[in-house]
């Protein structure tokens, strides 16, 4: 253990020994003072180009090959070159060990910030939040990605790059509808997934006999029309996980295509908790880095100059432009998350009357870290905001609620502002913005016309009048039809079941040939 009072580094330069010292110092504070519980850490120093690489493959260290990652890379590289975009200081991966990427250009202070932020803040959140526990398998993910990469490459070898590309394109288009939104199934065990796929492949190979391919199938079985309800039940309808449905029931997919759908689906599922906890996750990490670095400064292990440099970056990160600022693009999850964490700290440590009334359970209990750790473990953005957004914070951000009804001629109505009447409504509306139930369109498979032309029928339940954008929908449906191999229809209905619009897509030949 290094003695306190001794500077971790001076100036901006760092080397690997400095990094090690920084890690040890951060770890000591994280463990002893904040009582964080983290996965083992692995810190990797990379170049800007590698950072761009990581960006374009959704931040993963290894990923299967696909042109869209090349596209993202080219796009991001272009805007990076033009200076439109700075690179993130870090990327952190929800895996065990938890991998954090540090850019080599960062100064020593920035490296300290990043280590505290990613290797302790995010890491603790990944390990303890219930959503991550429920949906992700930190031990298995890297192996699974390795498997996915190999599998895709293997498929390309066997079935041609183009056929694989078509399947993946289609799967990507449906990725956001390849998620089980509600628990009930057991969490992913990616290692078992990989083994299972291998076994199935081996079985297919051993069981394949060309003879059976030529056996006449005989006339189709007649009669026995299944009761509609029973059939729907057997197909598991209605089903909102489109990829799952296709993987299990699409009649003409090859086994390897099903496996590709499964891979895309598993990865989408893996990222599902991240989209639900953006504010909390960033809030946690920012709060943790702020605590750790302030403490390092108190201990005299950071110079005032370095601390100022830290404060400047920190302030940039948690900057929240106001709605009429040209830089405004929604709530900054860092700003909102950090503000809420700090606000909770205040409520726990020194509450006012208002806080005692709003948060009787935590106000004045005194154990800041205990309360925070509990919150970090048991909430997601939506529930977190609806439980812990305080009136004081709403005033601080000067929040207001707008209701935009295109029918209304007068314009956009201000529905609530940060006053006594508005607090609860504001909070409810803000929480709804983070509710995954509202973020993605509600599209389900409702039926398959088995007696007729095997048409797959989907339904989009329109909420608040927001219909699907036509051009995109047609293209996605085309992909869907290619996978399904028969016609696909999608109806948009409003809450009173009135049909607003109907789409039909026919499969292209490619899919049949593939």
């Amino acid at each position: 253990m290094t003695a306190t009072g001794q500077l971790l580094f001076e100036g901006a330069d760092w080397d690997f020994r400095t990094l090690q010292r920084i890690c040890d110092a951060c770890e000591q504070i994280a463990r002893d003072e904040l009582k964080l519980d983290v996965y083992p850490n692995q810190i990797e120093v990379i170049t800007a180009e590698q950072m761009l690489d990581a960006y374009s493959s959704v931040g993963m260290p290894l990923f299967y090959k696909h042109w869209s990652f090349g596209k993202h890379f080219a796009f991001q590289e272009a805007s990076y070159r033009k200076g439109l975009m700075g690179l993130a200081y870090e990327i952190v991966i929800n895996s065990s060990p938890c991998i954090s990427y540090l850019m080599e250009e960062n100064t020593a202070t920035m490296q300290t910030l990043v280590i505290a932020h990613a290797a302790f803040g995010h890491n603790h959140f990944f390990k303890n939040n219930y959503l991550f526990k429920q949906w992700t398998d930190a031990d298995g993910i890297l192996d699974y990605l390795e498997f996915a990469k190999r599998y895709v490459a293997h498929c390309e070898e066997r079935h041609g790059r183009l056929a694989v590309e078509h399947t993946l394109d289609a799967a990507h288009a449906l990725m956001s509808h390849g998620i089980d939104r509600y628990p009930g199934k057991k969490s992913l065990d990616l290692r078992a997934e990989e083994k299972r796929a291998g076994r199935r492949r081996a079985h297919e190979e051993s069981a394949f006999n060309d003879l059976w391919r030529t056996v006449p199938t005989g006339p189709a079985k007649s009669g026995a029309v299944l009761d509609i309800e029973r059939r729907r039940q057997m197909l598991g309808l209605p089903q909102e996980n489109l990829l799952y449905f296709l993987e299990k029931t699409a009649p003409r997919l090859r086994p390897w295509q099903r496996e590709l759908l499964r891979i895309v689906r598993n990865i989408a599922q893996y990222f599902y908790p991240q989209s639900q906890t953006k504010v909390m996750n960033e809030g946690t990490a920012t709060y943790v880095h702020y605590r750790i670095i302030s403490r390092l400064h108190e201990q005299g292990r950071l110079t005032d100059g370095n601390f100022l440099e830290f404060l400047q970056s920190h302030t940039n990160v948690v900057f929240q432009p106001e709605f009429d600022d040209p830089r405004y693009s929604g709530f900054n999850p860092y700003a909102l998350g950090f503000a809420m964490m700090q606000d909770i700290e205040r409520i726990v440590a020194n509450p006012e009357a208002e806080d005692r009334e709003w948060f009787p359970d935590i106000a004045g209990t005194g154990d800041t870290m205990g309360v925070l750790r509990d919150i970090w473990a048991n909430y997601r953005d939506e529930s977190f905001i609806s439980q812990f957004m305080s009136p004081r914070l709403m005033r601080q951000f000067r929040m207001f609620h707008l209701h935009d009804n295109p029918e209304e001629r007068a314009g956009i109505r201000v529905d609530a502002i940060h006053d006594e009447r508005g607090y609860r409504r504001l909070r409810r509306e803000l929480a709804r913005q983070y509710d995954v139930g509202f973020i993605d369109a509600n599209i389900e498979v409702v039926d398959v016309d088995l007696a007729g032309d095997r048409r797959l029928m989907l339904r989009h339940t329109v909420v608040k009048g927001a219909q699907l954008s036509e051009a995109d929908t047609k293209r996605v449906l085309q992909h869907l039809a290619d996978l399904w191999s028969y016609d696909v229809s999608l109806v948009e209905v409003d809450t009173s079941n009135k049909v607003l619009k109907e789409y039909v897509a026919n499969p292209r030949n490619i899919a049949v040939a593939a």
Binding site: L19, Q20, C23, D24, P40, N41, I43, E44, V45, T47, Q50, L62, K65, W67, S68, F69, K71, F73, F75, S79, P97, A119, E165, D169, A173, M175, Q320, P321, E322, F323, D324, G330, R398, M399, F400, H401, L402, H403, P406, G411, I412, V414, I417, L426, E429, R432, Q433, D440, A441, V462, K464, G465, A466, Q467, L468, S469, D472, T473, R475, H479
Partner: protein, 426 residues
């Protein structure tokens, strides 16, 4: 719990390369369009530089189910003056779209940086120049060898004795191999010595020296160095390309564009074939002058037409600057075919007597109107003249072009024909 720190910076290769190639393959048509567009505005020499092209990103987007419209509720920060029940004017109908569930890719096009090879490949690919350039390159490029230092492996014939010996010496010194003189001295002393103790001492010392000498050989395999040779492309002769263009008023922008594309192709082709290519731009009306590229293609000029003036200018330049013995001379002439009747005689004389004997290749490109049909073009005066020369055996290649798409086939054809002629001629 020790934290593992890894330096990944040295990891070879970028993961993105493969994905980038896939993207390029996928976006080929788009990128090609962009390359085509950008090569129109580029200078001939810059074609080989590669560089940025703008690719429309919306042609490459990936569709998702997205919602739009409907009533929207949002909570925003930064209220300064609104109270409940206020109405805000809508910004403008399109502004109301806002950021949907899509990605943040806000730009319609983005600049995509192509490497030199990627650019030329796409450029040539567009013109469907298959392996012509490569084949020609292989024919012409010859290799020489030159010394390139020393290596630890090689054939015995290449052992460098002096280098090997000096390395052996250095090693022997460094490892303190006993010198033979020292051994001889000791042995001499032993012969003379009568004291038993001293003798034993000397013998032990001699033995030690001998062991050491055995252990540290005079020449060790690690000392051996071989002369290394590497192959270098022999400096292939240089080439000069004359671009002759009629710029009289009858030449439209379209015609100049056709000519430019032909010149560009010729340049790319020559560039791949020769180490050093010069371009001379000569434009002419009834007078000819040497100009820079800008003026050549874009400078306004007008006047009568005297083709011979350009040929005369080329001849003068060749005589003063490009000795035919040292230079491969190429000429490409683009014209709409108009020439004054009186000029025919001089033109023909200049070509047959002065120009053709020194040029490797003389191409005549007759450019026509857009949407015209080449076989419908009546034979122009120049065409008739050249046709006559060709019939009498002059090595001239000539073609008519109306459309951009014809440029490459014509080019290909011209070069094909020439190599056939060569074969039959030899």
């Amino acid at each position: 719990m020790a934290i593992h720190i890894v330096d990944r910076r040295l990891n070879p290769g970028s993961k993105s390369l493969e994905n980038r190639q896939r993207f390029l393959r996928r976006a080929k048509a788009l990128v090609q369009g962009a390359v085509k567009k950008s090569s129109q505005t580029r200078d001939i020499k810059d074609v080989l530089e590669g560089g940025e092209v703008s690719v429309p990103i919306d042609g490459m987007d990936e569709p998702r189910f997205r919602r739009e419209g409907g009533t929207r509720d949002m909570v925003l920060p930064g209220n300064k003056k609104f109270v409940e029940g206020d109405y805000l004017p809508r910004p403008n109908p399109s502004g109301g779209k806002g950021r949907g569930a899509g990605e943040g890719d806000s730009e319609d096009t983005f600049r995509f940086v192509l490497s030199r090879d990627e650019f030329v490949d796409l450029f040539l690919d567009d013109l469907e120049l298959p392996d012509l350039a490569k084949r020609k390159l292989a024919e012409v490029e010859s290799e020489g060898i030159r010394r390139a230092g020393y290596t630890t492996s090689g054939s015995p014939a290449n052992i460098s004795v002096s280098r090997t010996v000096s390395r052996a010496l250095a090693r022997r010194v460094a490892l303190r191999r006993p010198r033979p003189e020292a051994l001889a001295a000791l042995e001499a002393e032993l012969l003379d010595c009568s004291d038993e103790a001293r003798r034993a001492e000397l013998m032990a010392e001699i033995e030690a020296l001998k062991t050491k000498m055995r252990r540290i050989p005079f020449i060790d395999p690690i000392d051996i160095r071989y002369r290394r040779f590497e192959t270098v492309p022999k400096p292939v002769a240089q080439a000069v390309m004359f671009c002759l263009m009629d710029v009289s008023g009858s030449m439209t922008e379209h015609m100049k564009d056709l000519a430019k594309r032909f010149y560009m192709l010729l340049y790319v082709f020559l560039k791949r074939r020769y180490r050093h290519v010069e371009i001379v731009f000569i434009r002419h009306t009834d007078r000819a002058e040497e100009v820079d590229e800008q003026t050549f293609f874009y400078g306004p000029a007008s006047g009568g037409t005297l083709v011979s003036s350009a040929l005369q200018a080329m001849h003068d330049i060749v005589r003063s600057r490009f000795r035919p013995a040292d230079w491969n001379i190429y000429a490409a002439q683009a014209s709409d075919g108009d020439n004054s009747y009186a000029d025919g005689e001089v033109t023909s004389w200049l070509l047959t007597d002065k120009i053709l004997p020194v040029t490797q290749f003389f191409a005549y490109l007759e450019v026509g109107q857009e949407n015209g049909l080449s076989y419908e073009m009546p034979n122009s005066s120049l065409w008739t003249l050249y046709e006559g020369l060709r019939a009498s055996g002059a090595p001239l290649s000539m073609r008519k072009v109306n459309e951009r798409s014809e440029i490459f086939p014509v080019f290909h054809d011209l070069f094909q024909r020439r190599s056939q002629q060569e074969r039959t001629g030899s």
